[in-house]
């Protein structure tokens, strides 16, 4: 049996295994979207039909009760009628302040916007009214209203190329959010273990600053990892922070250290296992790609950290 999506008086039959988002895009409707993975919530629509639970996973209770759902996560078994776009999550305008290279493959984008968030959360950055990507905030909220993002540049990546080549200081871009539950909270004396792969360092750096500003006194270990040492950044900055904050320890790990001092050549999983053989009582923060987060989460859990004390952000790539 084919499920049918009713939208703006058109009936769109779903191909086998197709999501509501893909079906509507295929039929020429303009639906805002980003990650196609349930993370950015840009594709949120509203319906009064019965919805599969997966289509509402990760939404707030009040959103669920309003019939909001994520079109990219919705594969209905039966016909559904879409009332319209969920009241668009508010977008606000931000001004580009600077675009600066941090390493071979990472740029820092600074935006100015009056925007409320908690350090470690992420925002959606809009390239045009229909297309966004999620980026984590590396800044902490301060009066200068500067937001800092770290963006990995992929050779054929739409956003990376746009940011690196087209955006200029003074340009205006839309942002929305914030989202995410990976941030500093809890007591100030537990040991913290912060693990970042690649630009996973962005939210980790934000959370670290927040922890220090809030007066965290327990030990903090931060591990910044990358495949290639030349992709690592903020080594000096973090090492300096460690000088002024005796509770902070930094570790830089790469599979190929390229002879760089301060960088340990190691497999990050073995390194963390050896250095932190027991994570009992730790709060663990994990940010990076899906594989990294999955493996590290399991490892940290097996080494003793309790599940509710493991905070993670997964940087799903578009369309995966």
């Amino acid at each position: 049996m084919t499920a049918i999506v009713h939208y703006q008086s058109t009936a769109v039959p779903l191909d086998h295994g197709e999501t509501v988002l893909d079906a509507l895009l295929r039929s020429g409707f303009d639906i805002p979207h980003g990650c196609k993975a349930g993370a950015c919530h840009a594709c949120m629509l509203q319906s009064e039909s019965e919805l599969p639970a997966t289509a509402q996973a990760g939404l707030k209770e009040n959103q669920k009760s309003l019939g909001y759902f994520l079109a990219c996560q919705c594969k209905p078994a039966e016909a559904i009628t879409i009332a319209g776009a969920a009241e668009a999550t508010k977008r606000s305008s931000a001004e580009v302040i600077s675009i600066q290279s941090l390493s071979k493959s990472v740029v820092r984008l600074q935006l100015k916007a009056d925007f409320k968030y908690i350090a470690g959360q992420y925002i959606n950055l809009w390239k045009d009214p229909l297309t966004c990507r999620s980026y984590s905030l590396a800044s902490i909220p301060t009066e200068d209203n500067i937001l800092e993002l770290h963006i990995k540049i992929f050779e054929h990546g739409v956003f990376g190329q746009w940011i690196e080549n087209d955006l200029r200081p003074g340009d205006k871009v839309d942002i929305s959010g914030p989202m995410g539950e990976c941030f500093y909270s809890g007591d100030k004396s537990s040991p913290l273990l912060m693990l970042a792969m690649g630009t996973g360092l962005a939210p980790i750096y934000g959370i670290l600053q927040d922890a220090l500003v809030k007066g965290h006194v327990g030990k903090i270990n931060i591990v910044a990892a990358a495949r290639d040492a030349n992709d690592l950044y903020y080594l000096d900055l973090l090492s300096n922070m460690a000088k002024f904050n005796p509770q902070l320890n930094t570790h830089f790990v790469a599979q190929c250290s390229d002879g760089r001092e301060n960088v340990t050549e190691a497999d990050v999983y073995s390194y963390v296992k050896a250095e932190f053989s027991s994570t009992k009582g730790y709060r663990v923060y994990l940010c990076g790609g899906e594989n990294f987060v999955k493996k590290m989460k399991r490892q940290a859990f097996l080494a003793g950290a309790n599940m509710p004390d493991i905070y993670a952000d997964v940087f799903l790539a578009f369309g995966e």
Binding site: E290, K294, R298, F301, L302, M307
Partner: protein, 117 residues
């Protein structure tokens, strides 16, 4: 009073779930069944399991248990491994032996359904 209430209800489940799940993931006999991408979802299912094994409020029937486990082709060894980890967890939490016996009794009562016999 049910054994679930005697050992502290949902707080007992919360205390047990991390210990139990850690044991299961480290047990080569059964870890493959539980080692999925979504650790949070599995964690929640471990809670459902423990709540049921402790005789707490749940809405699963024998038929549900049969359905939930049918496709896994579970054997006696799998069942024993889960039971051992359950007992290990309770021992670690210093639950009195008489309550452990009661909980093992509950697990055994659904054995045939779980193994689809």
């Amino acid at each position: 009073m049910s054994v679930y209430e005697k050992i502290g209800g949902s707080a007992a489940v919360d205390a047990a779930v991390d210990i139990f799940y850690r044991k299961v993931l480290a047990d080569d006999r059964i870890s493959e069944f539980f080692d999925t991408v979504d650790m949070e979802a599995q964690h929640a299912k471990q809670k459902a399991f423990l709540t049921m094994a402790f005789g707490g409020p749940n809405s699963y029937s024998g038929k549900d248990m049969r359905e939930a486990h049918k496709h896994m082709n579970l054997t006696e060894e799998h069942f024993n491994a889960v039971a051992e980890n359950l007992v290990g967890t309770l021992t670690e939490l210093e639950v009195p032996q008489e309550y452990i016996d009661e909980i093992v009794g509950i697990a055994l009562s659904v054995k045939d359904d779980v193994l689809n016999k």
